[in-house]
């Protein structure tokens, strides 16, 4: 009799202890580091709206994000570049690309007096190919009349770690220069023809700040927060555009986005579009295996595009234009659970 009482007490005790754990569902995601600040803000805010679900996002990098969603160890993945056809073919089900926000890559430099430079794609490619090696090169001077350029070496600084920032930058250079496309190409990390490699935005910015005559590229958000000198870049319609959230949203608006949302938005035709920009994606299976999780995930995505997008600008991400958001809402409806 006594034993029985004990067992009953133990079991009911366990049930009480287990109840809150069971109620909160955990949805796991992993991938890109670039949108991590925004995503963690989203998950934080969303926890207040729907306390029954908790999102756990690990910013392990786009490569890890793609791999983990392919092996289905996470409920959603995230990537700074669209998946390749080769990788997509490995997916056990149809994998949707859902763009969330866009970022831009800006060119920063270290010249005495920090003059406002104007550069175009062809010239940038030549600088990063190691062909333009002096600041007073005629090609730089031609775009920047009135600025006194020193006769010092151009020191190229690039990202050493694989990153979405490098992807966007090399995507742009591949788009504007045949030689770059053939000799180097686009990727999260490439075989750089010249220059020093530094880790992270802070590494590149640090090197550029220290070395007179250095030129490098960093994320718009980072340059903005640290007030770095940035170059105006000539876009596809021939205007020199200063990088800003507005000019990136312009770029998004004029970029051609295909049905599957795997798009590149460098060098879009818009007159006010900043040309070196790219989106970041969530990767979600169209057929959700776990109905309860699938439902919660879709609810979250709907919230992200109705309320979450508005939080992007404060964190220096460019929100998607309304028309694209509407298309994504349709795509989210196609998720089955």
């Amino acid at each position: 009799m006594k034993m029985k009482d004990l067992i009953i007490a133990a079991v009911s005790g366990l049930m009480i202890w287990q109840a809150p754990c069971e109620a909160q569902m955990l949805i796991n995601g992993a991938g890109a580091t670039f949108p991590y600040p925004l995503y963690s803000k989203w998950f934080d805010e969303y926890a207040k709206i729907d306390p029954s679900v908790r999102f756990n996002y690990q910013s392990i990098g786009s490569g890890g994000g793609q791999e983990q969603i392919l092996s289905q160890t996470v409920d959603f993945g995230a990537s700074d570049g669209p998946m390749s056809d080769e990788n997509l073919a490995k997916a056990p089900g149809k994998l949707l690309h859902i763009p969330t926000v866009a970022g831009a890559v800006v060119v920063t430099y270290n010249l005495t007096g920090a003059p406002s430079l104007k550069l175009d794609g062809a010239l940038l490619a030549e600088i990063f190919l190691g062909k333009v090696t002096r600041w007073n090169d005629a090609k730089i001077a031609a775009l920047n009349p009135g600025i006194k350029l020193p006769r010092t070496d151009v020191i190229v600084v690039h990202r050493a770690d694989g990153s979405g920032t490098s992807y966007i930058f090399t995507d742009f250079l591949s788009d504007v220069s045949k030689e770059w496309k053939k000799g180097v190409g686009r990727n999260t990390s490439v075989k750089w023809p010249t220059g020093l490699g530094a880790k992270g935005n802070e590494g590149v910015a640090g090197q550029v700040k220290q070395l007179p005559g250095a030129i490098g590229y960093v994320e718009l958000a980072y340059a903005h927060q640290n007030k770095l000198p940035v170059a105006e870049i000539k876009n596809a319609s021939g205007n020199f555009i200063r990088p800003s959230l507005e000019s990136v949203t312009e770029a998004l608006a004029s970029a051609k986005v295909p049905e599957d949302f795997r798009f590149s938005m460098v060098n879009p035709p818009g007159a006010k579009a900043y040309p070196i920009a790219g989106a970041t994606w969530l990767l979600v299976y169209q057929e959700q295996k776990n109905p309860a999780k699938g439902k919660k995930l879709v609810e979250f995505l709907n919230w992200a595009f109705s309320k979450g997008e508005a939080m992007a600008a404060a964190l220096d991400y460019a929100p998607l234009p309304a028309e694209l958001q509407a298309r994504i809402a349709e795509e989210i409806k196609s998720i089955k659970y």
């Binding site: 490569g63 791999e67 770690d161 190409g185 590494g203």
Partner: protein, 322 residues
């Protein structure tokens, strides 16, 4: 085990039997622990080989002799990384070993007690500084100083050597080597100090009795006696040097290339993995990075083996007892 056995109320004969059993158990356990280290290394090797399967088959030996590291065209070769690893570790050893041994000699032979205690604490503190912090210090303090002071000076006075030519960026193989030296200094010093302390006092007294000066005592009676142990300390430091990652990554310039100048940027095996692993999206790329890990393991084993051989040749059988 024995203590437990003794507390039990047992006949004396059975207690002996228990003792023997405990002995055997202890022996077995000790064996198991020792073997597990070996098994661990084998498992790491196996996992790395397994993970790099694709790259091993595609590139074969070419991986070790190719200088091409091109993720876009999926051509991978580890040679510049091997070069950077060996050169930066060598530079580190050249700087750290004399400094460490001199420090250890000072601590055991010369320093008064209170200085010894303070200094030892500081050396241990240096060992406790995290790699990333050293890297930050490297970027913001060491590299600018090297670029503006030491490197121009080296180029001016030793510029006739190809080692000290070319443009100065600050971040370089030499900077990488110097930061590794800072990191391995404490471990070599601590181990060397223990080795020197274990030199019997009789050894010194005998030398003094023969009329040797302090320097002669240190050189003949202490250093020569402890040669093998000091070499071991160096190998321990070398092991650390080959695998150092974060701090090196921040100051070495991350450019996989083979050049004569120490002022030029370089890259090491460990930095390549740390830099590129997170964003490697294709299978062959990931496999190549795994193979880099395998090569690093191989280089470490090989260098350690060579060092052991060298030790045998240098120390000779006479010093084998140390």
């Amino acid at each position: 085990m024995n203590a437990v056995a003794e507390k039990l109320p047992l006949a004396r004969a059975r207690r002996f039997a228990r003792g023997a059993l405990a002995d055997r158990l202890f022996k077995g356990l000790a064996w198991l622990m020792a073997v597990s280290v070996f098994v661990l290394i084998l498992l790491i090797g196996y996992e790395l080989a397994h993970g790099s399967n694709l790259a091993l088959r595609k590139f074969g030996w070419h991986f070790l002799i190719s200088s091409d590291w091109d993720p876009v065209n999926e051509q991978f070769g580890a040679l510049p990384f091997i070069f950077g690893t060996l050169v930066s570790s060598l530079v580190a050893l050249l700087i750290a070993v004399p400094l460490s041994i001199a420090t250890a000699v000072f601590l055991t032979e010369i320093a008064p007690n209170w200085v010894r205690q303070i200094l030892t604490t500081f050396i241990e503190l240096l060992a406790a500084v995290p790699s990333v912090i050293l890297g930050l210090w490297g970027i913001f303090v060491m590299v600018p100083w090297l670029r503006e002071n030491l490197f121009p000076w080296l180029r001016q006075w030793l510029g006739f050597l190809p080692l000290f030519r070319g443009p100065i960026y600050g971040v370089s193989l030499l900077a990488g080597g110097i930061i590794i030296a800072v990191m391995i200094l404490p471990i070599i010093t601590s181990v060397s100090r223990e080795i020197l302390r274990s030199v019997p006092g009789l050894q010194r007294e005998a030398a003094y009795a023969l009329g040797a000066t302090r320097w002669e005592v240190t050189r003949i009676a202490v250093l020569s006696y402890a040669k093998k142990g000091l070499f071991g300390a160096m190998i321990l430091g070398l092991g650390r040097a080959l695998g150092e990652t974060m701090a090196v990554l921040m100051v070495i310039g991350n450019r996989p290339q083979i050049v004569a100048s120490l002022f030029a940027p370089g890259a090491t095996l460990a930095t390549a993995v740390a830099n590129e692993f997170t964003e490697a999206t294709t299978d062959i790329y990931l496999n190549a990075l795994f193979e880099i890990g395998l090569v690093l393991l191989g280089v470490t084993v090989l260098v350690n083996g060579l060092a052991q051989l060298l030790l045998k040749a240098v120390a000779g059988p006479a010093n084998a007892q140390q």
